[in-house]
Subunit: 433 residues, 4 copies
């Protein structure tokens, strides 16, 4: 039997709190999970700094990746005898599902922003480069690694396969909503996935939903909306992320200023210079980041030291509502007042904005094109979801943004010039409702 078709002697399972069990039969999948590149995902939290707010959210990307694989496995098992479904694509789908997040690093969002990185680029690198993962994929057949990479990059020719992994209602999203809800403990994030799986139908170029399942999809969209605002954009989580981002900025700045670190930050050097090799990227997991942040709590540089101490010990910035469009004047005044008080506003006065688009239909040419959800009507035609659902219509395409201004309240209180404190406080709190 070829490697492609090789089955484990006996099915293996992983106990999973969200899907009960993750089932593995294929030797290829089993081997991929065992690679160092995949095991590394155990040391990267799924939700970055969210555990600062929701202490249960310690789950790793390893966790989530297995979950996405399991959902795709179940979808395919339902598709088995359906028209339009080509079972030759099975292993490709499973591999793409398992590996879709492989390039994530620690605290992806902040690292990508500060160091201009892109986890999707590294996912491609790991799949196509000189890695254990690549060797296994190429054993399936030469070119298979490229196929997997293409599916993840959404450039693969068979769009039905792509839509299983990336669409408005793909396995990725269905897993993370449920998983993040489970581990944070919030009551949002639940929807009837089993129902959705049962009403999914493959057609030529996408997965569609039987219209009888519309309400389950509405519920899923609402879950997403709630999870975004209740969990993902939680202002306390963002406070930790603001500090994290500023630490990275400061360290980079110090490096560029030829500051002498007590211990040379070896793991960070290529990030500072902007020339990160795959090997270096893979080494930088969350443990390493924490190691440096701990060291840096004893650095000479006061800002780096303070920020690291804040991050590690959860002494976060406070926040007020702030509209950067309308309050530019306030902003400039605050900036100057902070300077006057000896608090560097570039690190200690931070506007953070979060936006989401709970459901969006296809608008060609947009940055992040997302396949819309199509309902399969009883008469066989397709109908875009928001044209059929009042609720979805009411929120689709509407971008909502939340702006907050972060600052260290404790430092303010320590300012000696009480007049400055008063002025700052007046601006910060007068606008608040």
């Amino acid at each position: 039997m070829s490697y492609k078709d090789e089955q484990l002697h006996e099915e293996k399972v992983f106990k999973d709190p969200v899907h009960r069990y993750v089932h593995v039969r294929d030797r290829v999948i089993w081997d991929l999970i065992a690679t160092p590149e995949f095991q590394r995902l155990r040391r990267i939290k799924q939700l970055g700094t969210t555990n600062i707010t929701f202490h249960g959210a310690e789950h790793s990307r390893f966790n989530h990746s297995l979950g996405v694989y399991e959902i795709v496995r179940r979808i395919i098992s339902n598709f088995q005898d359906r028209p339009h479904w080509n079972n030759d694509q099975r292993l490709l789908c499973l591999c793409a599902a398992l590996l879709h997040d492989l390039g994530h690093g620690p605290f992806s969002h902040s690292f990508e922003k500060v160091f201009k990185l892109d986890h999707e680029y590294f996912t491609q690198q790991i799949i196509l480069g000189d890695t254990y993962v690549n060797k296994i994929l190429e054993r399936v057949h030469p070119g298979f690694a490229q196929d997997v990479a293409d599916v993840i990059a959404k450039t693969y020719s068979d769009k039905l396969v792509v839509s299983l992994i990336s669409s408005q209602i793909d396995a990725d999203r269905m897993d993370y909503l449920q998983r993040d809800a489970y581990f944070t403990g919030v009551s949002y994030g639940h929807f009837d996935m089993e129902r959705i799986l049962r009403v999914m139908r493959p057609i030529e170029d996408q997965v569609v939903i039987k219209s009888s399942g519309m309400h389950a999809v509405e519920d899923y969209i609402m879950s997403r909306y709630q999870m975004y605002w209740q969990v993902y954009f939680h202002p306390v989580t963002r406070s930790a992320e603001v500090i994290l981002t500023k630490i990275l900025h400061r360290a980079k700045y110090l490096y560029e200023s030829e500051y002498a670190f007590k211990l040379e930050p070896l793991h960070f050097l290529s990030f500072f210079t902007g020339d990160v090799s795959l090997e270096e990227y893979l080494k930088l997991d969350e443990s390493i980041v924490h190691y440096y942040f701990q060291l840096w709590q004893e650095e000479e540089d006061e800002i780096l030291r303070d920020l690291c101490e804040r991050f590690m010990n959860r002494r976060l910035f406070k926040y007020v509502e702030f509209n950067p469009n309308k309050q530019m004047n306030d902003w400039m005044k605050l900036y100057q007042l902070f300077k006057d008080a000896g608090i560097d506003p570039d690190y200690y006065l931070v506007v953070d904005s979060s936006s989401d688009l709970p459901y969006d239909f296809y608008r060609p040419g947009e940055e992040e094109e997302r396949l819309p959800i199509h309902l399969l009507m009883p008469n066989g035609t397709l109908k875009e979801l928001s044209r059929h659902s009042d609720i979805v219509e009411s929120i689709s395409g509407k971008k909502r943004t939340d702006h907050k201004l972060y600052f260290p309240k404790d430092l303010l209180q320590a300012i000696e010039d009480k007049k400055i404190v008063q002025e700052i406080t007046d601006i910060l709190y007068s606008k608040e409702l």
Copy 2:
């Protein structure tokens, strides 16, 4: 108002997946949670290497400590108007509950074994030493820190208070069983805690259980039994722990042999010499351990390198059942065969034993004295649980031990002398059922 009685302006809550919400009203508790010593528990996993087997088990000791606090809070709130209950002990109980695990380090079990440490000693040090925690406790009233330390050490004079924190059915155990079950996703570990809380009654020197709640307690004891054998002693978890222990042994040995590490293992030095200061102890969280293990994957020493690589990439040892009492002969033969094959048996041939005592009544003078569970009968007398419950009787006082022999199957397969391989295999697998 005194600091002792100070209440937060508005109750604060932590969202908790197990108890839904953890409620905090007392300023003292709020301040304790904010200390660096307590925040450090976020970087120490509750279950050490268990996440290697159950990928959901990434939860931290921070998590569990809040949970124990919350359970004690609920118990006390039920006790409010009961005879025997002195509400002056309230804050003491809450602090002891919150802080009882404060001295835990990363992978406590292995570190304690290899470096002869004791987390309980460090808990005392943190509470009584020059720490943020100590300052807060002493603000309550001078001597309060000592009281908290005594409750945790079980030496406090009021035994009722001690029994809330440490007994056969204390808040500690009730929390970890449920929490570990939740995060691993196993179906064991559930029992009707709300019922148990409702039937708990304070008497002079202990907490007892109204006899009408006996079945809920039986269920709790069974949960414990199942969690021990299904989760805590899982052979795959133990394999990771065996490797971890051997890494520590090897690193210590190398240090003592004046081996030149590529990077001096600064964080470990005092552990190697056996003279760990509180400050050094607090710095060593799981991130730091992972940092070194990653570095050591590139060390010259082949054993250290190989073991670290195994631990980080989950290339574990395999195991067979092994009875060290009856199979001493086999053991000696294997030891020699490993040596002959060039595999150091001190690191690669490891017997690991786990035992539990699911329920034990009081036997004075024993190493780990545990207060038995007493039922409060309708006529007001007390009856020790195992005398009333058939099920508990059947398992009480019975120590069950499970021995396994761990070894690297992959290395065996690589031995050139196939005769040796055959001999080893014959011994290893002949005895197995």
Copy 3:
């Protein structure tokens, strides 16, 4: 101690799958639960014919009434030390919560429609009439029964008390959404009630919600919306209800036509004549209805016999979408065709319409005035929910109606004149999408 303040020697609990436990401390509550009038609710299903569609939905109104009581108990316990809350109203609230559905009969909806009854009228009668319930309430103090009746009728002077029992987000609705979701097994109907209870605040004339809890309320509104369309208005459930209604119509018609029933329908006589005494009303529980329906399966009258046989054996009507406003013509044609085929269209061709108003703000003078949900903003002002929540705004005040045409497909197939069958089928199925 007065009866009003009398506490049970020990708290009693009911095990409840939704709220875990229902707690009773007050002697008055305990005594009310024990009355025959309240016990009768055990024999009346909460969801009428819904168990025909969702087989788990067998739960009784007894069930739900205890749940509403428990929620109000928890709300009040949170209100204990709040301004605006007058704890003298406590027992009044608990009694009103417990008894609010006391006047419900079997299959209320159909019975009320056919026999022009009103369960709220009977609730008043039971509370104020010569009943066990009345005796207990009057023992609290003379006039107390009237107070309870007024709270339930929403005419009580203290509007804060009224809003606990009847508003857009009252204990009644919070209980039934969760309970009906639990027993049907659907995944909708869940929301974070504990959170909502924590953000409820009493003000002078109503209960409001701290604005920080807005998302939990949004989730509750969405649950309601989903439960209405997925469970309460399920077309199969309505089919059973259509048949039930027609049975009652037919029986009444036969009685009025002086038809000779094999066994005189004693329990129904006063319903037929429209002069139902309280005593007669209380006797007619679901068992009695089922008893007669079983008997009537053997009646001479073919329509009564057939409809009863359908109801008892779940041989339901089929349905198609039908818009009575646009399809009047079709309707008239079908009516005639049924007649021609010998199938009485008054019983076998039924349009059923369901509408809901998921959230409505106050519109004085409307039939069913519902207090809107007010958010308590950080600055102390009130804001009506739909002005603050996009999602709620999008669905508020929008009445959605679903019309279906029900008919017995099996009877059609048995029509001899195949031309008629064809014509009927053409009309029924041509319009369907």
Copy 4:
């Protein structure tokens, strides 16, 4: 295609709170569910009088029958490619699972005891008699109904098939434990069924369990033990059952004494004379029983009236512990004292005993032979569970009996001769612990 192999155009599902969905593909199963004989199970509660104690336990036998079917469906789907499994038996297993409780009447336990009936006899009658069910089964192939009846009667030749339906760990028990736990809301009754299904293996003559799943089976056995003592044998439930039994006895006695009922109890006549036809049996569902009990609340006979009033309004008997073996003397004294006080002890002084045998291995010749649970060891041999599990060993074969003496406390208090009251009270309460 033959009827046997006919599949529904599209899979149908029932929403089920316990198994999420019950899936139906086979036309035969769909048709069986639609029969009046099966629909009748909707009007018979799974747990008889248990809802008197646990108000959530209103679920019907219809509910449970679908659940057992679903579990067998899942087991068979796992067995598909296993050796020893003959897929020709599939439909037979599914039908037997679905229909195994078909002969249950209302409050089976009491009716069977008083009227010397046997629900298994009626299950056979319904399957083999002139019924809708029989017609459908015989359409599969002549003799199929007999096969189904034989499987249920455990006389079918293929013992593997029988053991799926009836053994110590069959689908019947796995369903009812989980279902009854769900609807009562107790925390017992949960075990990892998915795990058990995965470790079930068919061998020649039975279903066995892979030894690696032993702990899941232990957990199941413990659930059973807890459910028996916490739910099924709850003393309050038994009080209602005692009264019910006495009502039936009294009604039979009155009939035999030629007492003139106000309304002739037509539905009961054949039960009184002991000659119940299938047709009469099927008519007597719980509604009918409730109908008569309501009527009998207005009978002349004081005992019948009082008992019915007690049953309908939940005015139950109280109880004390009572050992009929050791307290015969007490019993005789009480019997006489009751007589002296004018309270008929044959109806108002009742000893009720419950026993269970949580796990039993095979003992040929015993009344209720139950196949033991066999573990399949790694070496391929079988081992009886209790020889491998300490916990199971400790409770296996041990019959535990609980005796209680039931009596109407309220009537005692009404006795005029206070001396008698004192004597009775002395006996009743002196013995109690």
